[in-house]
């Protein structure tokens, strides 16, 4: 008996069909199939930020429908995965508001959320981020830099940073983060004394 081997269409093929037949059922199905491939990744990513199933679903739906409506802007120069990741990441980071992420204590900062910070705040945050980047570069070693950035600007949990950076000390990433913050506070104090 002959069996016909079929392979799942690639992301690029689905994007092509979705854009070519956008107004037809075929195009809609291709777009749906494409987004359904990533819906779990997007949902879990959102859950990491808001730590609540229902709110994560709301965020994930927003991300997926934004991707659906902006599919025409996907130019195919990058992978679809990185494109939808950028949307999810931006949306999740926008949902977070922290006054001074580099120096905030872990637990105090973890649950402070805001569904929609204004553009002025976002611009301010962007400028602050540049200043923070400069500070981190000058005063921390590479492991501390990465750990702190993952925690403060990518929103990863401490346990996850420990795993991703393969930190095998007893305190894991928490110890690295505390050390990094101590160094930054000392550096800022020294600067303000001058």
């Amino acid at each position: 008996m002959k069996t016909k081997q079929t392979s799942a269409p690639s992301d690029a093929e689905l994007v092509r069909v979705a854009l070519a037949d956008r107004s037809r059922p075929n195009g809609g199905r291709a777009a749906s199939l494409l987004l359904e491939r990533y819906q779990e990744h997007v949902y879990l990513w959102c859950l990491r930020f808001v730590r609540d199933h229902e709110r994560a679903l709301d965020l994930a739906q927003e991300v997926l429908l934004t991707a659906y409506h902006r599919l025409e802007t996907f130019e195919g120069r990058s992978s679809f995965a990185s494109w939808i990741f950028a949307i999810a990441r931006n949306r999740c980071l926008c949902s977070l508001r922290r006054s001074s992420p580099l120096l905030d204590d872990e637990d105090a900062a973890a649950d402070v959320t805001d569904p929609a910070p204004g553009p002025a705040e976002r611009l301010e945050a962007k400028f602050e981020e540049e200043a923070a980047l400069d500070l981190v570069r000058r005063h921390l070693d590479p492991l501390e830099q990465t750990a702190l950035w993952l925690r403060c600007y990518e929103g990863l949990a401490v346990e996850e940073i420990t795993r991703l950076l393969e930190i095998d000390t007893a305190t894991g990433a928490r110890g690295i983060l505390q050390r990094a913050r101590r160094k930054l506070r000392a550096a800022l104090d020294a600067t303000s004394r001058r």
């Binding site: 037809r24 679903l57 992978s79 950028a86 980047l133 000058r138 590479p142």
Partner: protein, 237 residues
């Protein structure tokens, strides 16, 4: 102790990471990924987005799959739903029926143009001389649109002067800048001025050199936007 290196240029967008990782390790763009704390963290975050990791507490992927699939399909069906079609008439009758609304539309458009044209002014009164205006248009809420050219003048030191024509009855203007992903990246109040200068440092923060951002101007009255121009492209030096 200073352990970090100096910045090797602006950070590339996450979408380009995969391409950059294929470059030679000595390529400056590839080296930036290794050197920059922000890019290193973003790359790790992207990889973590794709990996199948242990489920976080409170996760219910089955419920998420079901509900998100339903939302996507509902959106897809809503968009792809064909408009109800009427039985087609013979060609002669189709022409007879269509020409009347077409004529009415043309007449209405001409009336609107005449009404919106300021008395005693030519149509290009708002176009500053010696500039090539971007293709912007002012869309008034509930009213037809009129032209609103947006102009960007670059200074040699890298600052840019954004300007636009005055709008009668405007109490202020707001400039909004967007990245290529159409996310708003800045919102700047210009007061009653019809121009705004972005310093070279501000421009550098908008995006990578050689990239582009979009900008548009909102006209304010009573503190609220009452109209907004079409976006124009601002090519970064």
């Amino acid at each position: 102790m200073e352990t970090g290196k100096t910045s090797s240029g602006p950070c590339p967008p996450v979408e380009t990471f995969e391409d950059l990782l294929r470059l030679d390790a000595r390529d400056p763009r590839r080296m930036h990924l290794d050197d920059c704390p922000r890019c290193r963290a973003r790359l790790i975050a992207f990889r973590s987005f794709l990996e199948r990791r242990p489920l976080p507490a409170g996760a219910d992927p089955g419920d998420a799959r079901r509900r998100l699939s339903a939302a996507i399909r509902a959106e897809s069906e809503r968009e792809g739903r064909p408009r109800p079609s009427r039985p087609r008439l013979p060609r002669f009758w189709r022409i007879q029926i269509l020409w009347k609304p077409a004529l009415a539309l043309i007449a209405a458009s001409m009336l609107v143009v005449l009404l919106l044209r300021p008395a005693g002014h030519g149509p290009d009164v708002h176009s500053p001389a010696d500039h090539s205006p971007a293709d912007g248009s002012l869309v008034l809420r509930g009213q037809p649109s009129a032209s609103m050219p947006l102009v960007a003048d670059w200074a040699p030191e890298g600052s840019v002067r954004l300007s636009w024509p005055a709008v009668p009855s405007a109490e202020g203007y707001r400039v909004m800048l967007y990245g290529t992903d159409l996310e708003e990246i800045a919102r700047l109040e210009a007061g009653r001025d019809t121009m705004l200068v972005l310093t070279a440092a501000q421009v550098a923060r908008l995006g990578p050199s050689g990239g582009a951002v979009f900008w548009r101007v909102a006209t304010l009255a009573g503190g609220e936007p009452v109209s907004v121009s079409a976006p124009a492209t601002l090519q970064l030096p």
